[in-house]
Symmetry: C2
Subunit: 383 residues, 2 copies
DNA sequence: CACTGTACTGGAACGGATTCCAGTACGAGA
DNA sequence: TCTCGTACTGGAATCCGTTCCAGTACAGTG
């Protein structure tokens, strides 16, 4: 807190208060905001038509590239358009055409770098196709998902990109059922529905590779601290871990789903280390969770990888300079966004809902090593 | 690349192909999409009026809470609304009222965590006030700023939040001048204009504190690797550094503006370390730059803080577990977003453009220590 | 009882474009 | 020369609410 927030008004732009004769055409006497529309009296298609001495329908045809237009007509209209600096009112077009060229993105929290990159990939691809993106953050409150779906629906978006906070929420399912627009799920799976397209990550592959790596190093007790059990990535990771250890009967797996938060990461770590069979390797299921895990490990002075090995999910840029370098199960979120956009655009083009699965891959790092000879000291027991 | 991307269609939802008698009311013979509008023939206000046996204007009054409505009228209308599941078409409302309840956010790159948090803060505040947020990424191409301002203008947004890629771009200034809607600059300063509100960070305070700290530790050669010279944060930081060292004639400051990229961070570090008077402390002006700096330092096996001290700007969550802990000039991006939203809402309420400055603060860390007795070896000279 | 005011309601214009339909004009073929 | 087709154009309906204006009915007052 170095500096107090400062509020100060700027001097108004106008220099002369109110005296100078306004060149505005016949301003209404005192009416403050009588005609609510026509903010800056921009020219409409009507004015263009009058100016060119043609019908509005002809102006519309010229502007929309209709074939039945003579060269003479085209040039007259274009001249009038130039002179008046006419720009069509998209609102009117939307109303008439019933399409807004807008899609809604429902996301838990855009400040999550993973989701931000997905949003970027999607926005760039959609904009290239002439669509704009409306963003809503559910701040990980499941009922807000439904609220936002309805809200975007009222705004008549043409499609929806959904990174839901909770796949099992009834309100969400209901809101989705009531939605006539095509939607794409982003790493989510609504088992009860098939109307939605989806972009998925192959979490199983990454987890399997990580487990094999850890087992190869000699680990026999592996824990996964996962996020919310109500979303696909968590389920997939848990399933994958359990399947992977089935192939190694000597390996014991523990799973701690909860939430994608630092708090859960810390709490689960504490629980695991204080437990009867503390793991020799932890897989952290997300950025925030990782922060919590690291915090708890640091507090206990548990060394990585000497005392415990660590793998994390979903890369963050700084991770590569972390000491020791973090073994990571990564994926390409930008591409996920781009693919989600492509899937949506395909639906606009008449395609059926589709599902696409993108790879994940495990990258080793110094944070993984052979487990210590003796289990790490289960210090920090409650008194 | 563990897994190939997989594309597979889902089975269509409908089980019976086309035989079953559609319960749809009097479907047009074969017409694929004749009436473009009325996607799902939802009831309009007209239908509600007919059903209730009243005029549309009365329905409108009831729904908009107009005072001149009898209780009888209200209940009749509400009943009809319920029965038909009527929802007003926001598009028509927007067109008529000339307000879209939508604001546009022009941002360089939403995947930058700083900007993502700003976006989150802004979106939450705006949504609470009934506004939706349209997001565009300029991917740090200055001309796209202008393009997007115009694009959002065409969509008739009520206001603009601007994190411009380049304050000096003529097209951007021009686009802004042609814009009738209120705008808020986010840590940007358009010296030629006073029409915009702005949320600023007090970068000077943070830099000054950092410099004092470094000088106190004994540093005499301090470098700032900054981002694009065309945005306010860079200018402010450079100015602050130069002013801060003026108070200490024995201190030599070097400045390397460039871009907010990892590449620039690395290149500038190389340049500085290979220079005649390599710095004993570096201030990295942003996340990406930091990554480049760290990369170069690691490549040269320059130790932090033994060989060189390091300060970074703009916190990232993982930074606190970085070894050594990073000294940071931080600020609260979420609040910046929230304040930007507040400033915009204030303008909608009739207020004049305003400027608010939020604090930054320096937090020390293990990455800063006394400079080495001898200047760090200027190894790595080009052959 | 007549008059004025109040409380409410209906009708219609409006916002700004799209698109169907009907028409005009002109060239070509019979 | 008449007819038909083609190429183009204008008019009007439409999308769906909002809001101004005029009007009705009834209560209150002189």
């Amino acid at each position: 807190m170095s500096t107090e927030p400062t509020r100060r008004g700027r001097k108004a732009a106008k220099t002369s208060p109110a005296a100078s004769a306004a060149p505005a055409p016949a301003a209404a006497p005192v009416a403050p905001s009588r005609p609510p529309a026509a903010i800056a009296d921009r020219a409409g298609m009507r004015q263009v038509a009058d100016r060119a001495g043609v019908a509005m329908s002809s102006v519309s045809r010229v502007l929309s590239g209709h074939p039945d237009v003579s060269a003479a007509m085209r040039s007259r209209v274009m001249a009038a358009v130039e002179e008046l600096g006419y720009e069509p009112n998209m609102l009117a077009q939307m109303l008439r055409k019933g399409a807004t060229q807008t899609i809604g993105f429902v996301v838990g929290d855009i400040s999550n770098p993973l989701l931000a990159q997905i949003a970027l990939g999607a926005e760039v691809a959609l904009r290239a196709a002439g669509y704009a993106m409306l963003l809503t953050n559910s701040v990980n409150q499941p009922n807000l998902d439904a609220t936002h779906i309805r809200l975007l629906q009222q705004r008549r978006v043409d499609g929806l990109l959904l990174s839901l906070s909770d796949e099992t929420n009834d309100q969400t399912i209901e809101a989705l059922s009531a939605t006539p627009t095509p939607s794409v799920l982003i790493d989510r799976d609504l088992r009860t529905r098939t109307e939605e397209s989806a972009v998925l990550s192959d979490h199983a592959a990454g987890i399997t590779q990580a487990v094999e790596h850890l087992v190869g190093l000699g680990h026999r007790r592996i824990a996964l601290i996962a996020g919310s059990p109500h979303v696909r990535p968590t389920r997939e990771r848990i399933n994958a871990l359990e399947e992977a250890v089935e192939a190694h009967p000597e390996v014991h797996a523990q799973v701690r789903p909860g939430a994608f938060t630092e708090v859960h990461g810390g709490a689960a770590t504490r629980e695991l280390l204080d437990g009867r069979r503390p793991p020799t390797a932890i897989i952290a299921g997300g950025n925030q969770i990782l922060v919590g895990v690291l915090g708890e490990l640091a507090a206990r002075q548990v060394r990585i990888p000497d005392d415990i090995s660590l793998v994390t999910c979903d890369d963050v840029p700084l991770a590569k300079f972390f000491t020791p370098t973090l073994a990571t199960i990564g994926r390409d979120p930008y591409e996920m966004g781009a693919e989600a956009a492509a899937l949506l655009l395909a639906r606009f083009g008449g395609a059926e809902p589709g599902v696409i699965t993108l790879p994940t891959s495990f990258t080793g790092g110094r944070s993984c090593a052979a487990p210590p000879r003796t289990a790490p000291p289960a210090q920090g027991e409650r008194p």
